[in-house]
Subunit: 342 residues, 3 copies
């Protein structure tokens, strides 16, 4: 079976606040990884399996800049080299666990799961809103028991909002696919949707207090293997859409959706959301966060159901609104094949 993972890539293994005191275990692409911070707070990522007897290093302790196994005390530096074996003076030169290149940015910890020598060939995903004082951001995570590619499919076809999210962030008018364009380039797929003169979603009525008809835009950009950047918003119908004046614009947001594969059938679902600073009150932002979690749990429910029904022996039918996800799957497959070949 062909690999479903792009090995040479940066993945978000954890949110920054999840790596605090002591080592923390995360599985990424099926590999057990332990993260910890050294004495100045820099994150280190090692294979979570001691070279001695394969105990999880995540059950150990951080000692200064080093990680000590909780079984017999083998101690590793940030390169994965064992530098101390308490029972004896000599450390065998081959006593070494795998070290993962690691970067921390945007409140998240990225690890490079492929060949470490190649990690400079790509940069971790850049989401400038996370670093821009003009935008108010937060991060969160959920977990789903499904193949991460099903979540990519989900986000590249937002007609699902009318059905999965009709009680939260969707409304009937989003079901149509008439004003949708799909752009493909060598390393991205971009879907642009424009839904003029439709009803507001229930959660958006609640947040904005506006119950009239609206125009809604959704620009979805997939960067393999695990990032989807959404530029989404609403304005009063006919007021100019993204170019509406501040008084007519209702919501204007950026969201980075991240689907880090945990195993072949489970996924870390993480996100960063950015709202224009000052555009929403604290209460409005909190409602938005709460409704987002509700909505993403709605996605998880339907995708876990889908995972349980997957049967490759049964033919499936593609339609027009699948253009984005078909392009996304093709791009991902091509990159995985190239990566495996190289």
């Amino acid at each position: 079976m062909a690999d479903i993972f792009l090995r040479n890539d940066w993945y978000v293994a954890a949110l920054s606040h999840e790596v605090a005191d002591g080592p923390a275990a995360f599985t990424v692409l099926g590999e057990p990884i332990v993260l910890y911070r050294d004495h100045v707070g820099v994150v280190v990522a090692l294979e979570d399996r001691c070279v001695h007897r394969q105990a999880p290093l995540s059950l150990g302790t951080v000692e200064g800049d080093r990680l000590q196994c909780g079984y017999h005390g083998f101690t590793y530096d940030r390169t994965g080299a064992c530098v101390l074996i308490p029972s004896q003076d000599r450390v065998p030169p081959d006593a070494r666990v795998r070290a993962y290149p690691v970067r921390e940015r945007h409140g998240m910890v990225f690890v490079w799961t492929g060949d470490p020598a190649k990690c400079e060939t790509r940069a971790p995903f850049d989401f400038p809103y996370a670093e821009d004082a003009g935008w108010s951001c937060h991060t969160a995570r959920l977990h789903g028991r499904f193949d991460y590619r099903l979540l990519i499919d989900n986000l590249l076809d937002l007609t699902h909002l009318s059905f999965v999210h009709k009680a939260t962030i969707g409304s009937a008018g989003l079901a149509r696919d008439d004003n949708t364009t799909t752009e493909r380039d060598s390393d991205r797929v971009k879907v642009t949707r424009w839904s003029p003169d439709i009803e507001q979603a229930p959660a958006h009525v609640e947040i904005t207090g506006y119950a009239g008809r609206i125009d809604r835009w959704q620009i979805i950009e997939f960067t393999p293997a695990s990032f989807i950047w959404l530029q989404v918003g609403t304005a009063k119908a006919g007021s100019g859409g993204r170019d509406a004046s501040d008084k007519d614009k209702l919501l204007d947001r950026h969201a980075l959706h991240i689907m880090t594969p945990e195993t072949a059938a489970s996924t870390h679902y993480l996100w960063v959301m950015a709202n224009k600073a000052g555009s929403l009150s604290e209460t409005q932002e909190q409602i938005l966060r709460d409704r987002s979690i509700e909505a993403f749990n709605e996605d998880i429910a339907i995708i876990e159901g889908q995972q349980s029904r997957l049967d490759p022996s049964r033919a499936i039918v593609d339609v027009g609104s699948d253009a984005g996800q078909i392009a996304g799957r093709r791009l991902l497959e091509r990159l995985i094949a190239e990566d495996a070949g190289g």
Copy 2:
């Protein structure tokens, strides 16, 4: 491995009251099936897997006579044809899920799991007491983690009542197999047991108030793949058995036991029980229902234990009381082989 399921047959997928508002999911012979009622209450049975991206249709909604997928809104009629795709005007002609022939009778929903073209070659099991005002009926269900054939074996050898059910519906005198006959014909196995002058079962003392010795009859008729009709009763010892006068007859009942395979190792255990109308008070009927559930849970406990111990590498020993179950297994195997061959 030979198939353990008779594909071309009617199975009870659900009790009628289990299919009410909205779609309901049931697995039968390993196949996910969604049941729903149209606007006049007729039950429809479809494959529980959308042709688009394989989401479970049971997570969707009923719209009039149709079922709409909860993911992207693909909508199906009772034939399984997709008749609406909200994102576009055109519906591809091959957009279709499997539709199962379905019949509702006796308070139960029957589905035909084989070739739909053959569904008229057999009728769903007929249990006339369920439709007869002279009999008071109720239905119920349990669930067991075992191969459905073990439950057939269980019911074709009622010597187990003396052991499994000694605290409920059994008594020591039922352990003997002296007055038992087994009849085999081309599509049924019938076991007739006569236990004269034995003690009452505890539950029957409780229901009838009679603690003296009794005669007990048990007529067990297996109709493959999943129906066993029990005609059972008790009369005061020596009063004539089934022909005893009303004053000497204590219990006179028909029970249809149904073992619908869910998967190869799990079973829907359903039943219809019929007591002569007016022969028992409301209180007595309730006790009978409660003790039946207790007793059938006793069966489930021992059969799940048996399932956990099954080891085909260990020889088993057959005895005289196995005649019914051996005949039942042979008949079932023959019908499965014929069905697969045809």
Copy 3:
């Protein structure tokens, strides 16, 4: 794959008090075994699978010296012979389940899992302290989801006490392996450790009230397949170790650790602990028992973690302190190979 079990051996299946009224089920080396006591209290061990339809005999009842299946009443004597089939007069001569040689001693029930004809070739493990009024003993058990050999490894390398048990029965000075000797003979591995002038373990300070520096000895003897005898103790530093006078000796104990394989990936962890009679108050003994359970649960946590990380494709590194466990594994492998060959 080579067998990981030594079949022809005595294993502790249960603690004596676990076999009381009625049959009790235990799985040993993957085999389901039912234990019961006859009318004078002698333990019988049979295959927990009726010869008739493979129901677990442990769901049945003890009738005098015999065990009756709870399904159809087949009744077995201590030899495993079926002696009664309630439904008929005749018992087929091949109606027989496997009977396991069984011995009860030291408050434990030993079963022989191999060829019964060979059971006299070895004796169940002898732990004389359990029968000696000069020693105060207790037994207990835990359960771990790991290969039993990982627990043997654990006990043959006690440098782990400094890390796994630093809050209970370990201290930093035990991490060194300078004064350790490993002796191998044809059927045992013995590791002797001497740790002079080290700090007390927290649990031992609590028990003895002595917080000064100590000398500690640990003599570990592995007798395959599943017994490790520990002779351990502490004395005030420089007072003579095992030869210290009573006033300087702090703890002086024998412990038999037993790792009975349940399945290839789960283990019954049982033990007998012996303290010199009168050397500890009731309160001190209770603290010792409580801290032992805490400590052994610490072992289970790290070993279950280790089991979850085992990856035979990843190289491991051996060091000097592994001498005991390497010798133990080699001895066990040799005995298993000889046993399978013979």
